[in-house]
Amino acid sequence: MNCIDAGGEYCPCHLAETLDCVLCSQLSGEKFCQCKNWCGVCIYDKYISNGSKAQNLRRTYTCTILKKKTPDKNLCILTLKAPEDLTRELVYPGSFVFLKNTENPVYYDVPISIMEADVIRNTLKIAIKLNGIKTKNLFSLNENDRISVRGPFFNGIMGLSNIYEAKNGTSLIIACGIGIAPSIPIMKKLHSNNNKIISFIDTQFKNNFSEKYLNDYSSKIVNCRILENGYLTENFKSILKDCLSGGNINLIHCGGPDILIYRIIQFADKSIALSCCNNSKMNCGEGICSSCTKHYKNDVVKRLCKVQMDSRELFKDRKFI
């Protein structure tokens, strides 16, 4: 278990102030250090040096919508003009921001993954699936409208270290619907680390909004139905089995709903490294609102906006009721 913000610009956060720090034993109520997950700097030192106060929360930026495309009635792709400092922070796999109409109160903030952060043009490309009140409000925005962007946030993917460690091999991307969007920065990273990428895609929308990226980074694309009634389809299982039996798969990334991630964890051999998208509901992203908290065995509570862990740990010992 790790904290995505540990040691960075937003660390220590207010969790340190209430002795709830994810990593530091002293900042979670202990008298002494027991630093099992060293992040490279001492969080307690940062906290004391900062006058025993948390660092500032993320800023909210006002950006302009440069482009709006609606490839499906339930899907829109926005390109936003964003400040350089924000764009630069959002190029990594797992990056996301909170978006809302500038007119709306903060409760409308909805976490949306970054599909592409262009540091030359300073633009952010995002895909939004129509879901409820918040996303409906975003759909109503048009080109040249202003949009409120809060960020940067980083914990959109679980198992990030597995992505960075995958080099010179073959990696699999299994992605459904809107889960394809956050898979794109991962493909980019895997591609730059000299991996051959095989993508299993279940687009779920009328048009495949990610076709360009898939073609750019994948050496093989398999379009198929992946999940049916909560189970992997027989066809997909058979293709995946063949693919895995070839060996040398250094990573499976799973971009889709929790049930898909769960089924892939069950299906894949434990020796294969996994990563997956973080599907937790979030409101603040800063560990305060507790929307993303999940409860585990021995009364362990994890704030999934902060806690970075291996995909297999996500459901292990988790209390569902």
Binding site: C24, S25, Q26, K31, F32, C33, Q34, C35, K36, N37, W38, G40, V41, C42, I43, Y44, D45, I48
Partner: protein, 408 residues
Amino acid sequence: MKVIVIGAGWSGCAAALVLGLGNVGGIMRNNGRYTAAEEITALGAGDLIGITDKLTRHKNLDFPNHAHAWLYDVNKIEPEVRKYILSKGIKINFESRVVDVKMDGSKIKGIYTSTGNYEEADVFVETTGSTGPMGNCIRYGNGCSMCVLRCPSFGPRVSISKCAGIDDLHGERTDGNYGAFSGSCKLAKETLDKELVNELEKKGVVVLKVPKEDVNLDKLKAKVCQQYALKEFAENIILLDTGHVKLMTSYYPLSKLRKIHGLENVKFIDPYSGGKGNSIRYLSVAPVSNDLKVVGLENLFCGGEKSGLFVGHTEAICTGSLAGHNAVRSALKFPTLVLPADTAVGDIISYANSRIKTPEGRKNRYTFAGAEYFNRMKEKGLYSIDTGRIRNRIKKLQLLGIFNKRLT
């Protein structure tokens, strides 16, 4: 049989038979440590004493309240010990930080490293010490002084016994605060006045007067090494030649140090911020029985500071040797060895072990070289610098070479 030793200071090296803190020490055989060095050699674990003796720069040196000290060269010791350990067929995992354990009831099944590697063994020896890491040095000291532990680079110490569910004990200061400052610093020799260096290299020790306005007796209360927590050490600057220049004080503001003749251009070499503070120690002691097995666990033994409020390298070698020996005995299902109180090593272990259970005892440190325990050593007639007599004592107890006899 597989034994994993976690930690590679003097105690870990002795148990495994690398070196971490040995690079900044240097003082051997002063006061009762002479007896202990000869005892441990007679017991059959004198390998490391042999190496420090071989690399000695100065022999039989006297400085305030300390007699017949030997100073080994801290710049030469580590490669020599490393070579020796490797020559014994011991596998060393460098830069491998153990951060957690897998338990099977009250037995440690395996250990996890910070990189996620998992390794199983029959028995484990923990010699991770009790110093730092940064958060502790901030909370109980003057902040990170960039000491030889290099926590930021290599990651902080994790208490393995605590991971296994056993709460640590802690040393205290007279003011009730936890821990204590490490007791000495190192100065870069080339930054001292040439004449002073010549004198130091010739005699091994130089004593300089501290300007009256800078004498700080309060600092002694916070010091680990109670054998050096004496008025003479506050009123004087005591320099020892260990290859670098060992400054016998926890820390000393650089601007004040440079007021002293011969030290006008002086620079700290360890800790780098020796003008501000030093590492904080005695924050993680495991409760052990006199065979150095952790109470409440079946297969974890401890040596060095982890096994009690011991100060010094000789003490680490002695406890590390016993912990390593008993780890093997335990894995073989043999009864473990408790050294009798007729030996200085056995006596310091049982004495420190009984004292740590008391509030007063937790405010003291235990060393052959001075303070409370050296007095006891003298009272009990254990102190001697007569090698033959010490060897005879061990022989009479039928313990001669016990540590280097094959157990199977």
